[in-house]
Symmetry: C2
């Protein structure tokens, strides 16, 4: 039990982390999503952030985020690869057919608050890597099955903590 | 007059900007600081951000930020080059001799709220490029002349808008 728990705890506590960290050494996980690599660059649980979070996410070819919306601000910068941003409106009963934007290295965009969106690695040959910044952690996220599901039917997940497992780490291991 | 003002206006209004922008085409300026290149990736004035701002900053060899503090959160990621982070405490009468941290590509760190700090490109041969995220724009910044100036004597600049010139653009040019 305890070596595993201690190892998990060491990823979850800001205590004991060096002040300057190296992103290439940071723990990554797919959090149950095949083809995803997520690194919490600066997070509420892991690093004590209160107003912003930064994530480094890599999507294998063909993989995508769920269709989702949130009321926090979110800014993307594409660091590697290319893909498609799908974006719909919050002003009708359901998102409807989304606008599609091609994105590639050095692309940056800010998701309008509450607009349903999805990031999709539509490049068959390359990983898509993005740096994501969000405001007001933890995210309150609404997830859609498809673009024609009513906004009111989208499934709420709150709080959305990537590193929520840290909450379950036994206190005496910390 | 008008072509220049119109050009400035086009950098200052979120209207007319493509939704997905390419960072390599974004306007940069040194804002009066020799050796600095600043790009507002996502900003309050330029892009209507309310809760976060992202900046891409490049420091020529030997150049540095002022010594400063702010109560907003700030996260750095080093994209190119190397340098030194200088960091002091807010818990004494003045900052005092700062801690020095070497930083290089893939380094990330979050500045503790209200702690005086300075980023310095101490590498003689290479530019230092960092991606900066801050919360709650506009920044309320306190600037120190040196590490031994009392916190209470630090000079307030508020609001600190990189793109404040946008405020002065004649309305009829927008
Ligand atoms: Zn999102
Ligand atoms: Zn700062």
């Amino acid at each position: 039990c305890c070596a595993v728990a201690a190892a998990a705890a060491s990823l979850c506590s800001v205590r004991g982390l060096p002040f300057v960290r190296n992103l290439s050494n940071e723990p990554q996980d797919n959090y149950g999503r095949s083809g995803l690599s997520h690194i919490t660059v600066a997070g509420a649980v892991s690093h004590g952030m209160k107003e912003i979070e930064l994530w480094l996410q890599t999507f294998a070819p063909g993989t995508r985020t769920p269709i989702h919306r949130h009321s926090c601000e979110e800014v993307f910068i594409v660091l590697k690869g290319s893909g498609t941003l799908l974006l719909a409106s919050s002003s009708h009963k359901y998102p409807g057919e989304p606008e599609k934007y091609q994105i590639s290295v050095n692309s940056t965009f800010s998701i309008p608050v509450n607009d349903p969106h999805q990031i999709w690695n539509t490049n068959e040959n390359e990983d898509l890597q993005v740096l994501v910044t969000i405001s007001r952690p933890p995210v309150k996220i609404f997830i859609y099955d498809d673009w024609f599901m009513p906004h009111t039917a989208a499934k709420l997940k709150f709080p959305y903590y990537w590193d929520e497992e840290c909450f379950h780490t036994p206190k005496d291991e910390l």
